[in-house]
């Protein structure tokens, strides 16, 4: 198993919704060939050390993933074609990258919350039903 890190730069003026769209698009393309996506997050908006396409700021996005068959050349050529991506780079990692806790936590929490809400609802409904039954009896 090999672990890779891909970093790419997009236009700084993109809103969150458009950023998510690009991110999901790239993730989808990586997912086709990779084994598992470990991390995918926006690193931040930074000043570029040199202008790319006359743009001096950029939003950096990082993706960590594991791969069985190498497909980096194909990924690079695909990324070059994308209009929204200003620059990209893929490197091989020596060790397995740590999953970002923030992302996981937020996802897990939201799932937990949803489950809890559902459980509570169902509990309340059950209690209501039972009460109704008792009243009827």
């Amino acid at each position: 198993m090999r672990y890779y890190e891909t970093i790419y730069v997009v236009h700084p003026d993109f809103e969150d919704s458009r950023l998510d769209e690009i991110k999901s698009n790239v993730d989808k393309h990586i997912k086709k060939n990779c084994d598992e996506i470990i991390n995918s997050y926006v690193w931040g908006k930074r000043r570029l050390a040199y202008d790319i396409n006359k743009i001096s700021y950029g939003t950096y996005i990082i993706v960590h993933y594991s791969v069985k068959k190498p497909f980096i050349e194909e990924l690079n050529s695909w990324m070059k074609i994308q209009e929204n991506i200003l620059a990209n780079m893929t490197i091989r990692l020596e060790e397995q990258p740590k999953a970002k806790e923030d992302n996981k936590d937020s996802v897990a929490k939201s799932v937990e919350l949803k489950n809890n809400v559902k459980k509570n609802d169902s509990n309340e409904e059950n209690i209501k039903d039972k009460k109704e039954l008792e009243v009827k009896e």
Partner: protein, 76 residues
């Protein structure tokens, strides 16, 4: 953290918590001169192993526009 003139102690071997990573621009830009050239290990005191990693990190940072090739911007 001044880089030059600190004897023969490798900074990265001394403090293992510092990771030599291309994203860690604050650290690696100190090992580049005003022209953006990589300062040799014999000047900075960085050991050969760490110098190899450092060189790689600097070149990666240049590639993705985190550091300048020429040192004319804020990187120097």
């Amino acid at each position: 953290m001044s880089v030059i003139g600190r004897g023969n102690v490798c900074k990265f071997c001394e403090d293992k918590s510092i990771s030599i990573d291309y994203k860690n621009v604050k650290i690696i830009k100190k090992f580049v001169n005003e022209q953006g050239k990589i300062i040799p290990g014999r000047v900075t005191g960085v050991c050969a192993k760490c110098q190899r990693q450092l060189t790689k990190a600097i070149k990666r940072a240049r590639n993705i526009a985190l550091m300048s090739y020429t040192g004319d911007s804020f990187s120097a």
